[in-house]
């Protein structure tokens, strides 16, 4: 360098010696620009908050609940001056992969809606903040929630990893007009029976409600199963990523199936048992008969949309979809309970969500304040008012029930299951990420026509995960 800059008396203008200086400056400039940006980027993470508040990021997956929680966030922001809440929604099918990426790339939300089937794995990876000390410090009452919900969020290690926010059940949504056209009475739907051999009265109704393009019904001669206009029962997804919560869990369990050896903390899955595989065979049979759409047809489609478009007469779905179904314009939608199975009882999965704090959060205190607010009667009453889901606080879910009733919607098909004790829990186990990665393609394959006993192999692989421990 020195040799060039020390060159006097050349023909060129004075600019010449500066060339190298400029180069050096440019090189340095590049590096400086990078580091300068690093600084601004770190500081500029939160934008649009000129009021000096700290932003707490909150994730949920159900768009229907977003307005309710947005309201809670607003109320929370008005109740204190330190924190601002950024509510973000990611659809269920991307939620967990986005969250996992967030954990490893330092971009996970401070607080997020957590799921029973997922949280044990996060506990073993130290991704969740234990809340016991905080609960104790702030003297949080835990007896205001529906019975049994708080215990679900106590990990295998005895620590508490979430405060319950809601509970749910599944039921059968049906198009009342189509029902009457088919000569059926809504009252008939309240006591349907099901078995894996011939599908019972449940399958009779499904067949009756199925209509082909020539107007022939599924239980009439000449029915063309390849050109169906309205399916008796719509299906949404194959259930691989939610243990068939709204797909097949209600049939399998009413047929005597148990997911795992024990629940919670089971270490052995039972997808290879006859009680389960019979159910899946029957499920495939619905598609073969043309009563339900093939997997390729229903992939990515929402049951409620299909009912709105007249493509579906009935759909099994969760209580959290009640508002969406009953809100369809131009159609009267009713709700029936899940059918009674060979066990002589109905079955409905009942899940309960909670809000958890990411252990790597930069704002543990703010995150806790927000979680505490989410779990408080103030917020849960708001959620009840919006009546999308049943809040975890007993008093608050009665508000939701009341709101539904005011609109003429009877939600007893869901609440009865809870009150009559016919619900069962999500399997709570380790290895959730691996399990759903294995189950999703496996169930999609079965729904696309693969032999049901192909599940034996997957079951073995899943059980292998627990043996490695």
């Amino acid at each position: 360098m020195a040799s060039t800059s020390g060159t006097p008396g050349t023909t060129g203008p004075a600019a010449l010696p500066r060339a190298s200086v400029r180069l050096r400056r440019r090189l340095l400039g590049g590096v400086t620009a990078l580091s300068a940006l690093a600084l601004t980027a770190c500081g500029g993470g939160a934008f649009g908050t000129g009021d000096g508040r700290t932003t707490i990021t909150y994730w949920l997956w159900d768009a229907n609940q977003q307005p309710a929680y947005q309201q809670c966030a607003e109320d929370f922001e008005n109740s204190q001056s330190e924190y601002r809440i950024d509510v973000q929604q990611h659809g269920w099918e991307d939620y967990w992969t986005q969250l996992a990426l967030g954990f490893v790339s330092d971009s996970a939300p401070d607080v997020f809606t957590n799921h029973l089937s997922k949280y044990p794995e996060y506990v073993t990876r130290d991704l969740l903040m234990p809340l016991d000390d905080l609960v104790e410090r702030d003297h949080l009452p835990l007896d205001i929630y529906e019975e049994g919900l708080t215990e679900l969020w106590t990990g295998e290690d005895g620590a508490r990893y979430g405060l319950p926010k809601d509970w749910d059940a599944v039921g059968l949504f049906y198009n009342e007009d189509m029902l009457r056209e088919a000569g059926l009475d809504p009252a008939q739907l309240q006591n349907l029976t099901w078995n894996p051999e011939d599908g019972g009265t449940y399958e009779d109704v499904i067949a009756r409600l199925t209509v082909d393009e020539n107007g022939v019904r599924g239980d009439e001669p000449g029915f063309d199963k390849h050109h169906v206009r309205t399916y008796g029962l719509w299906m949404q997804g194959a259930g691989g990523d939610g243990f068939g919560q709204a797909q097949w869990s209600m049939y399998a369990v009413s047929n005597g199936f148990q997911y795992t050896d024990t629940n919670p903390w089971g270490t052995h899955f039972n997808f290879d048992q006859p009680a389960f595989q019979e159910t899946m065979t029957w499920w495939q049979h619905l598609i073969e008969e043309g009563y339900s759409p093939a997997f390729a047809v229903q992939d990515g489609q929402q049951s409620a949309d299909q009912m709105a478009a007249g493509n579906a007469a009935m759909a099994m779905d969760g209580s959290w979809m009640t508002g969406t179904f009953t809100g369809i314009e131009g159609i009267r939608v009713g709700i029936a309970p899940t059918p009674i199975g060979p066990s002589g009882e109905r079955a409905s999965m009942s899940n309960s969500l909670a809000d958890s704090i990411f252990a790597g959060t930069d704002h543990p205190e703010g995150a806790w304040e927000w979680v505490k607010y989410l779990a408080s009667p103030a917020c849960q009453r708001v959620v009840g008012e919006y009546h999308v889901v049943f809040p975890a606080i007993t008093e608050a879910w009665h508000v939701a029930q009341q709101k539904f009733a005011e609109e003429g919607i009877d939600v007893s098909p869901f609440t009865d299951q809870v009150e009559q004790g016919t619900t069962f829990r999500f399997p709570i186990t380790e290895h959730a990420g691996e399990i759903s990665a294995l189950l999703i393609p496996a169930f999609e394959a079965v729904m696309s026509g693969a032999p049901v006993d192909s599940l034996d192999e997957v079951n073995e692989e899943i059980n292998g995960l627990f043996e490695e421990d």
Partner: protein, 318 residues
């Protein structure tokens, strides 16, 4: 590789002349074969354009009404709603009333991020690659060819292979969710850029350089005053291509730039896609977002269209 030093640069200029000279050329009568050929070409043009029109049409439709007139070439139940959802000027309730989710794009922030990231990558990569290419092409020093060969081997390493360890590195450096983290792996060079520019530098006439030397110019002055100006065409080509690629990159910024403050458009768009309402995808909102994300490149194209076309043909011949 032999063709490199005879760049296609003259091609565009003498193109019109060639048209006239080519047998038949433009004045050839329209026989059936030619007519058919035109028909096929127009069909391709239609296939190219149609999705853009459909995107526009959907972006101005009410998502809730889309299924009522799925064939209509015009927006169904015209509304600015989807665009408002994208820009975040619609409330969650308004958005959901039209079948959207409550999610919004902080469009201007993402646009800014995409611009910063793409510009930094382009400027850094082209400049530093040019420096290296100069060292490989015009300077002689011990071990030069061996080092160049080592550089070339990097061409064979697929990006996905280096992305994983690079992710770990960026994480360790604490640069996740910062501009430097997103830019760094592309900032200093890519083997292709070095290789591409070296080929051109090799073809530059030595006489200019020698004359400058005699006038007392050093290597730095030669580089800035002779080599760079003489290579403005390949530099522009590389710059344009680098910018387009950087702008469209998804895999890497998706890993290291998830946070809002540094999120680029492509990543934001896929996040917007994941924010589906329970009643099925918000197609109108998605198309509005896609449209909005495509507008900046469209503008660049309108401004530099001919240059971009020539650039790409340029790389083709070499």
């Amino acid at each position: 590789m032999t063709a490199v030093a005879q760049p296609a640069a003259p091609a565009p200029q003498d193109a019109p002349r060639r048209t006239r000279l080519r047998p038949g050329g433009r004045r050839r009568p329209l026989n059936p074969g030619r007519l058919l050929a035109w028909a096929v070409l127009l069909l391709f043009l239609l296939v190219t354009i149609a999705p853009f029109l459909w995107m526009l049409r959907t972006a101005l439709s009410n998502n809730r009404s889309l299924f009522t007139e799925p064939n209509s070439p015009l927006p169904v139940d015209f509304t600015w709603g989807p665009l408002q959802r994208v820009f975040g000027t619609a409330s969650t309730e308004e958005a959901q009333a039209e079948g959207g989710s409550g999610a919004s794009l902080h469009f201007w922030v993402y646009l800014r991020n995409s611009l910063i990231v793409s510009t930094l990558i382009t400027v850094g990569q082209v400049f530093f690659s040019a420096c290296a290419a100069y060292a490989f092409a015009r300077l002689s020093w011990p071990g030069r060819d061996k080092v160049f060969f080592v550089f070339l081997t990097a061409l064979m390493v697929p990006p996905v292979f280096t992305m994983l360890p690079n992710f770990v590195l960026i994480k360790e450096l604490g640069l996740l969710n910062t501009y430097p983290g997103i830019v760094a792996p592309f900032f200093f060079m890519t083997p292709f850029a070095v290789f591409f520019l070296r080929q051109f530098f090799l073809g530059i006439n030595r006489e200019l350089e020698e004359a400058a030397m005699i006038d007392g110019a050093g290597y730095y002055r030669i580089f800035f005053r002779i080599i760079l100006p003489a290579s403005s065409a390949p530099l522009a080509t590389l710059g344009i291509l680098t910018f387009i690629n950087a702008w469209n990159e998804y895999f890497w910024p998706n890993l290291v730039g998830q946070k809002d403050g540094v999120r680029v458009l492509t990543v934001a768009l896929s996040a917007f896609r994941t924010a589906t309402p329970n009643t099925g995808p918000d197609w109108a909102g998605l198309m509005a977002a896609a449209l909005v994300a495509a507008v900046p490149t469209m503008l660049v194209f309108l401004a530099f269209g001919r240059k971009i076309i020539n650039s790409i043909q340029f790389t083709g011949v070499k």
